[in-house]
């Protein structure tokens, strides 16, 4: 019953934020909200940017790539020299080159894949200045790309798609900082630690055992970790650690924060293109897939763990409690982890590795669908728009018109860019997984043999190529091979999609608009939502069917049944 009300309240809150956060974000990116102009202006002056000057898609993409490149370099250097810098109470010393590289790429691409345990690797300065800063800016970059694409649809015969620097700064100042600060207060209020005083050592008077308990500036980092769909936690245990996610309220707040911006962006989209129903159609597709996956995974996890059942160890009235926090249980953990894998967050409040095979299937496939339901901040919207273009192309042809979406004709160039954007991820995942299972360095990674080990590798690359960052665990990723291969997956999964998306934005912005008529294939109807859901499922299904068959499906079937 409690889970039911959790869902009800979540739906209501998301509905409210969809409407109001959505329209607020439209106002921010259309430049109609300017109350922080006094902060903005000095920033532009320092950057040497004219905030009124708009950029072509090439310049926009160029600025974005340069910015992200610099971000990776700065983060890398900070981690390499963290031993020389202040705020390192545990004297942790420099992070190794391969790990620094992987981590820098991971945070700059909004992935937050962590081949390390935060509390024993990163100084407070690294956590705050290197990592948390990237959690803000990488999220803002994602939203900026989505907004540029939306402008492409909204504008007529325009040579420009916006100004990257303005979008970046405004995203951080007007959207991420205020919400993260408010949410951070709640986290800290609920007991998430926030201190620079270093770890504490406790002595157990009875046993004489000494225990070091790491602490740090956790609470506020937690807020942006969720809000920016980053997922990189302060501690290795991530959301399952009581200092990160202390209470049921913060657990709930986390799920809400993760979903808030990606869902609300569909409203922003509808508002900016001048037809809110267009945004509703996308949001509906997201809700259908997300809801189905939550139901599926929760159901799988509420079943007994087959391995435990086989051992006749204990009865499992609550379902699969292996790897779960007793505070949350299977249902709440399923909701949290599905929300985290269907956005680009990747934080977890229970061990994915210990999910039932079908529960793990739910998490893995959530990412394989391209993370569009609702997906990462910005990345969810721009990726689902790519799927929408493919759906429009097929649907438009089937009504006897050369396809158009929001009045923009979908021709060879648009199809080429959309197909590229949609297909980069599966190809990256499959090829890197194939390499990993073929070479010794790759085969050494998984902690389990057989299909479960295969799933661990497949999951790792799926997570990184989707900029998700969740780990199935059980895979030792801090090796030269996995650090480098993973960084390739993250870079391709981010920029090999962003660049085509921005090109698409430019091509679309330059087009004129065909007015809609009765013969137009309408994209604000349930029919379109259905077609879009079908396209997302079919593309994901066709590309990953064989791989998934050899992983979770085979594993589940070896217990004799799927659940």
């Amino acid at each position: 019953m409690g889970f039911f009300w959790t869902i009800v309240v979540l739906v209501i809150l998301l509905g409210v934020s969809w409407r109001y956060l959505g329209s607020y974000m439209a106002a921010v990116y259309e430049g109609r909200v300017r109350y922080l102009w006094w902060v903005e202006r000095p920033i532009y002056r320092v950057l040497g940017v004219d905030p009124e000057a708009e950029q072509s898609w090439q310049r926009y993409a160029g600025a974005l790539v340069v910015f992200s490149g610099v971000a990776i370099l700065v983060t890398y250097l900070l981690l390499r020299v963290q031993g020389l810098l202040p705020l390192d109470p545990q004297h942790l010393g420099a992070v190794s080159p391969a790990l620094s590289w992987n981590t820098a790429v991971s945070f700059a691409t909004n992935t937050n894949w962590q081949n390390y345990a935060g509390e024993s690797t990163m100084s407070y300065l690294s956590q705050m200045v290197a990592l948390a800063v990237q959690q803000f800016v990488s999220a803002s970059v994602g939203i900026a790309v989505a907004v540029a694409l939306v402008r492409g649809f909204a504008r007529k015969s325009s040579p420009t798609v916006g100004n990257f620097w303005v979008d970046l700064v405004r995203g951080v100042l007007y959207i991420l900082l205020p919400i993260a600060f408010s949410a951070g207060l709640v986290f800290v209020g609920q007991g998430a630690v926030q201190t620079l005083a270093g770890p504490v050592t406790t002595h157990n008077a009875l046993t004489g055992a000494k225990q070091v308990i790491p602490r740090g500036p956790v609470g506020f980092m937690e807020a942006i970790k969720e809000l920016g769909t980053n997922g990189g936690g302060f501690f290795n245990a991530n959301g399952a650690h009581p200092f990160e996610d202390p209470t049921a309220l913060t657990q709930f707040l986390s799920v809400f924060l993760v979903l808030a911006i990606p869902f609300s962006l569909t409203y922003t989209f509808g508002k900016m293109v001048g037809n809110r129903r267009q945004g509703v159609a996308l949001a509906a597709a997201m809700v259908i897939i997300f809801g189905t996956w939550v139901g599926f995974t929760s159901y799988a996890e509420s079943q007994p763990n087959p391995a435990v059942a086989a051992a006749h160890a204990v009865s499992q009235p609550q379902g699969n409690m292996v790897g779960k926090e007793v505070r949350f249980g299977p249902l709440s953990t399923s909701l949290y982890n599905v929300a985290s894998t269907q956005t680009s967050t990747g934080s977890v409040s229970g061990a994915n590795d210990s999910f039932t095979p079908m529960g793990g299937f739910g998490l893995l496939t959530g990412m394989m669908l391209g993370e569009v339901t609702p997906g990462g901040v910005g990345s969810g919207l721009y990726t689902i728009l790519l799927f929408a273009l493919v759906a429009v192309f097929l649907g438009g042809l089937m009504v006897g018109r050369t396809p158009e979406y929001l009045g923009k004709k979908i021709q060879a160039r648009e199809v080429k860019l959309a197909a590229l954007g949609v297909l980069v991820m599966p190809v990256t995942v499959l090829v890197l997984t194939a390499i990993a299972v073929s070479i010794h360095a790759g085969r050494a990674g998984p902690g389990n043999a057989g299909p479960h080990g295969f799933t661990e590798i497949l999951y790792a690359f799926t997570s990184q190529a989707n900029n998700n960052g969740s780990a199935f665990a059980g895979l030792n990723g801090n090796t030269a091979f996995y650090n480098v291969a993973g960084s390739i997956a993250m870079l391709l999964g981010r920029f090999a999609i962003i660049v085509p998306v921005l090109a698409l934005a430019g091509v679309l912005a330059a087009k004129s608009v065909v007015p809609a008529g009765l013969g137009t294939f309408r994209t604000d109807t349930p029919l379109f939502t259905g077609l879009l859901v079908a396209v997302i499922l079919i593309v994901g299904g066709l590309t990953f069917f064989p791989a998934v068959s050899l992983g979770p499906v085979v594993e589940a079937l070896s217990h004799g049944r799927l659940f």
Partner: protein
């Protein structure tokens, strides 16, 4: 509404195939034989590489062939043969589509026998030269019985010409110098009189040459939408390549050995071979369907654009109304009997051979059973002239006239008669209704007026309603005054009208529509239509029109029936729907193929995967082979659909989409499950396995 017998009836959706498009069955034996041969000729890799999907199949066939030679076995040879057949079937589909065009071109070539031309020398004497030697600008003489050697314009004379070689219409047409009926086409035959023709086409560039090229599809280029679709199909093919290739390392990791033959089979089953094989056939067949309706499209691009048209500009005369006004009522004046008026009007029209005159005779017969008769006695017909603006008959002292109101009134007053008081009102009423009044007088007495009505074609209103349902706006173009135009526009049910239209106004209207992002289609025949025809996205020139008009448009209607525009739009839509539906079908098919092949691939390593073998196929080999056979046969099975096109019913976009999603999307998922199972049962029954 009275429609005289013999007037062209509008038959929506049922064009009569004739002329160039001598109706051939879909599976004409001669075409089948040609296509079967063509299917093998097209195996040339240089041709295959143009179709990325089928090229992958061809390469796959070579790979399995090498494997089969290295490790011979029933399975590998069966797969190789069926993969090869997949390529052949695709070629066959294309050859079928082309074959129909080629057969038509052959008929045309036979008709275009090498002709001799009588060229005029500058001094006026004639010389005999081969038609091939004619250059642009030459003057030739054609007399009764001569074939016109090349395209040209009549500079002198009038002749009746048999154009059946092009239009299939056996009734001769009149061609005369000057005006909009001066163009003649090479290959047509002069039936009477003598004309001087100035050649306007270079050798090899004549209308007949272009027509042959078009129906043959010789210089067929991919259309924009076809290119976009090819890119999508290529992208799918490219992504399935790693999907399949990685199964080798994945399998090795799981401890399974994956045969190359099975991997190739899986790849071919997954890539969109169905649509890949049929795509070009669909395009060619679309052009062919237009040819069957006696419309020649100068490019596939125009056919595609036709599907997108949102505004249709239609000339009132000939398209919406019959070209001629028809008598629809007798309105007597000043207490006269209607029958007396009809009798006089009929007498006055007996010798009047114009359609208006005939219609008066017909109406008199219908209303009062006044038969055509010989007026007898001493009689003189007074023909219509531009100065008198009347016509009529003098018989036995009776002088009967009909004509424009003011002309007849003046004639009556000159004879001392009085114009009845009510006449002015009657004339005005008729004019206001969009009709033309003809006043009839018997001597110095005015009997009344005949209402000549612009008769809207039957069925045209329903046709416009269908167009509205698919989101196409119709605009009527007319030279009439706004009052008349509004009346007819309302009666015909068009969305808008342009009255007192000048070529400039027409052009402005097209530009305005295009600036709003809409695609415009129009038809025209006169030289003054040429700029608008060129500006319109789909410009259909009438074959009876001038050379300038034909060159400006991107389609030519051989029947010169402006109503064709509507058919053309439907063909364009049908073309796109067929592409989209078959693509959806092709992709939807993959689901079943996965369920057939994936369990078969790994079942020896993971026996539990047999749970996914939901079709309960007999063995791994039979499962893979069944999927490959289905994949090949479905191409053959869909050729008729590709050539004929998916049925297009005028309806709103959502209802068309819903229907096609059900048939080709959901059907595309279900159908292969059934047929792969059936093929598997057959293979098991004949103990292939």
């Amino acid at each position: 509404m009275a429609v005289p017998a013999g007037s062209p009836q509008l038959s929506p959706g049922h064009p009569t195939p004739r002329g160039v498009a001598q109706a051939r069955g879909l599976f004409d034996r001669e075409i089948l034989a040609q296509a079967a041969l063509g299917a093998f000729k097209k195996l040339d890799p240089r041709l295959q590489v143009k179709n990325p999907v089928m090229f992958v199949v061809l390469v796959g066939t070579v790979v399995t062939f090498v494997e089969a030679v290295g490790h011979p076995g029933v399975f590998s040879w069966s797969i190789t043969i069926w993969l090869f057949l997949t390529v052949v079937f695709a070629n066959f589909a294309e050859a079928m589509a082309e074959g129909r065009g080629k057969a038509q071109a052959e008929t045309l070539r036979r008709m275009r026998a090498e002709t001799e031309a009588r060229r005029l020398r500058p001094d006026g004497s004639e010389e005999l030269v081969a038609a091939a030697a004619l250059a642009k600008g030459d003057l030739v003489v054609c007399e009764a019985g001569d074939l016109i050697p090349s395209d040209g314009e009549i500079t002198e004379g009038v002749a009746s010409v048999d154009e059946s070689a092009i239009t299939g219409e056996s009734a001769p047409v009149i061609r005369e110098s000057g005006g909009d009926r001066s163009a003649v086409t090479g290959g047509t035959k002069v039936l009477s009189d003598r004309i001087l023709v100035r050649i306007t086409a270079e050798r090899g560039q004549t209308f007949m040459d272009r027509m042959i090229g078009l129906v043959e599809g010789a210089d067929r280029q991919k259309t924009p939408n076809e290119i976009a679709l090819t890119i999508l199909l290529a992208a799918l093919t490219i992504v399935f390549l790693p999907v399949v290739v990685v199964l080798q390392p994945f399998g090795r990791y799981a401890g399974a050995s994956v045969s190359v033959v099975v991997l190739v089979a899986l790849l071919v089953c997954l890539i969109p071979t169905t649509i890949g094989a049929l795509l070009s056939a669909i395009g060619i067949a679309g052009m062919d369907r237009l040819v069957q309706r006696n419309v020649l499209a100068m490019s596939g691009r125009a056919v595609e654009a036709a599907g997108d048209v949102q505004t249709l500009l239609l000339d009132k005369t000939g398209t919406i109304t019959f070209g001629n006004r028809m008598a629809s009522a007798f309105v007597p004046v000043g207490g006269r009997m209607e029958e007396d008026l009809a009798e006089a009007a009929q007498l006055a029209s007996l010798a009047d051979e114009t359609p208006e005159g005939r219609s008066i005779v017909v109406l008199a017969k219908q209303r009062f059973s006044i038969r055509e008769r010989d007026p007898g006695g001493r009689r003189e017909f007074i023909p219509f002239s531009a100065t008198t603006r009347m016509s009529g008959l003098d018989v036995d002292g009776r002088r009967i006239r009909k004509g424009a109101a003011d002309a007849v009134c003046r004639w009556v007053t000159e004879q001392g008669g009085v114009v009845p008081a009510g006449l002015g009102q009657i004339v005005e009423q008729i004019s206001r209704a969009g009709s033309t009044p003809l006043v009839v007088a018997d001597g110095a007495e005015i009997l009344g007026a005949i209402e000549l009505k612009d008769v809207v074609k039957q069925g045209i209103r329903e046709r416009f309603e269908q167009l509205r349902a698919v989101g196409i706006r119709t605009v009527m173009i007319t030279g009439d005054n706004p009052l008349t135009a509004a009346t007819i526009a309302q009666e015909a049910g068009v969305d808008d009208y342009l009255a007192e239209a000048t070529p400039e106004a027409k052009m402005d209207l097209i530009r305005a529509e295009q600036e709003g992002g809409r695609l415009v289609a129009m038809s025209g025949d006169g030289t003054n239509d040429a700029p608008a025809l060129a500006q319109a996205d789909v410009g259909v020139a009438m074959n009876t029109g001038t050379t300038a008009a034909k060159e400006a448009g991107n389609m030519v209607d051989l029947d010169s029936n402006p109503t064709k525009l509507i058919d053309i739009v439907e063909v364009g839509k049908q073309l796109l729907i067929t592409r989209g539906s078959l693509t959806t079908f092709s992709i939807a098919n993959d689901v079943a193929k996965y369920f057939a092949i994936i369990p078969a691939l790994f079942v020896t390593t993971y026996p539990q995967l047999n749970t996914l073998n939901i079709m309960k196929l007999h063995s791994p080999q039979s499962a893979v082979l069944s999927a490959v056979i289905f994949n090949a046969l479905v191409i053959i099975a869909l050729i008729p659909l590709a050539l004929r096109g998916v049925r297009f019913r005028p309806a709103s976009a959502p209802s068309i989409l819903r229907r096609n999603v059900w048939i080709y999307g959901v059907g595309g998922v279900v159908v292969p499950f059934i047929f792969i199972k059936l093929i598997d049962l057959f293979l098991t029954a004949v103990r292939w396995y």
